[in-house]
């Protein structure tokens, strides 16, 4: 990890008003059920499912490498003998850290309405895992396409999975339905990593596979990001 790259990325990401406004909106809406429960007795006092960890990662990691390559900044960065993998990991880790810190914020109001601490801790962990994994996915895609096209790729993939899910429900032929379901369940986690840990507090048994899906997805996309960054030909850059 390179401290200067981390600080530069931190400043770059947090100085964007659009990113900050979007992040504030996601945090606000995710904490909504708990804030309302402070005043409305009839609201259920339990952890609500929310995709905000992944969304925050999208906000901060979008274009994390692609925008840089489009702007030409790495050509100057790499005039120093800085290993590219350090640059990629430093930028991705910074985005993941910002998204993770913001992803746990909505659960603090949950402490005030009496939701058990273990459930809150598990929900926080799950959101952090999703934030880190989504950052890795976006970093991987961002190394392949320029600018913010990584968002378009991810949106396209998710629309595709939605259509596949629809087919899986509507198809009458059992075999075709099984194929659609199989494709969706095996490919989607590479693009939309999810880790639901709150179930553990309700007696769900531990799934090592769910954890390995997240870890291997993170590793896979980071290796892709490093490999693609290594392939870029940059004038002035040291080899």
């Amino acid at each position: 990890m390179n401290k200067e790259i981390v600080l530069a990325t931190l400043e770059q990401r947090l100085r964007s008003p659009v990113r900050c406004a979007l992040a504030a909106a996601f945090v606000f809406f995710a904490s909504g059920p708990y804030l309302i429960a402070l005043f409305v007795k009839a609201m259920p006092r339990e952890i609500q499912g929310s995709p905000h960890g992944g969304m925050l990662a999208l906000v901060f990691a979008a274009g994390v490498l692609g925008q840089e390559f489009s702007s030409g900044a790495p050509q100057l960065t790499f005039t120093r003998p800085l290993p590219r993998w350090q640059w990629v990991l430093s930028r991705a880790a910074t985005c993941a850290a910002i998204a993770s810190v913001l992803a746990i914020l909505p659960y603090f109001p949950a402490l005030l309405i009496g939701i058990p601490l273990d459930q809150i801790a598990l929900a926080m962990l799950g959101q952090v895992a999703e934030a880190v994994a989504t950052t890795a996915v976006v970093a991987g895609l961002s190394s392949i396409v320029p600018g913010l096209t990584d968002l378009a790729l991810l949106a396209g993939a998710n629309i595709g999975f939605g259509i596949l899910g629809l087919f899986a429900n509507l198809l009458r032929d059992d075999q075709a339905r099984a194929v659609a379901t199989w494709l969706k369940s095996h490919i989607e986690p590479w693009f939309s990593p999810k880790l639901d840990l709150v179930g553990l507090a309700h007696g769900a048994s531990w799934s090592s596979h769910a954890l390995l899906v997240i870890l291997s997805t993170i590793a896979f996309w980071l290796v892709i990001a490093i490999a693609m960054s290594n392939r870029k030909e940059l004038s002035y850059a040291t080899d």
Partner: protein, 180 residues
């Protein structure tokens, strides 16, 4: 970085870790495909006594789930309705859910509270879902498992019906007791 090392080198450790994780991912997928983790409820079930108290306090109808561990349709309902995030949340919003687990087959007898509730609502088969007002009046029941969508549709109807009863339910009414 060592002076001779290229800035474009891919550390071997990353590839080794990725390879190991992918192997482990495949292995656990295979293992858990044969030994699937137990399905679980996302519904926050209360005991019948707790349900009466909460229902009286919040003027919410109670949803009793009369079930048994050996009953296959009950397990199917558990996996498709109670383990589903959005359905479980919907149930929690509409009702105070209370599970009444029959242990006759396993233990030879049921706790007194379970027997009295089964007799009160004349339970003849599992699963049976019964929606009741806070003062114990039945507003509807689902017998057997007709599928997740039909179950949720019925529960919505029961919830709307219970709203009519709720208007006539006085604020100061004491929590009804079933001798639990």
């Amino acid at each position: 970085m060592r002076p001779t090392e290229s800035t474009r080198a891919m550390p071997l450790a990353f590839l080794v870790v990725l390879g190991l994780l992918l192997l482990a991912r495949g292995a656990t997928a295979w293992w858990e495909g044969r030994h699937p983790p137990e399905t679980y409820d996302r519904v926050d079930w209360k005991t019948p006594a707790e349900a009466l108290e909460v229902s009286a306090m919040h003027k919410k109808p109670i949803l009793y789930d009369f079930t048994a561990d050996w009953c296959a349709p009950c397990q199917k309902m558990k996996g498709e309705v109670f383990a589903d995030k959005s359905r479980a949340a919907q149930i929690g919003m509409m009702f105070v859910p209370s599970r009444v687990l029959d242990r006759q087959q396993e233990d030879g007898r049921n706790p007194a509270g379970v027997d009295s509730l089964q007799q009160k609502y004349a339970i003849t088969s599992f699963p049976t879902l019964i929606a009741v007002t806070p003062d114990g009046r039945e507003v509807g029941r689902v017998m057997g498992y007709p599928g997740s969508r039909a179950t949720m549709d019925s529960l919505m109807v029961f919830y709307r019906r219970s709203a009519d009863f709720r208007i006539s339910f006085p604020d100061s009414a004491p929590a009804p007791s079933l001798g639990l």
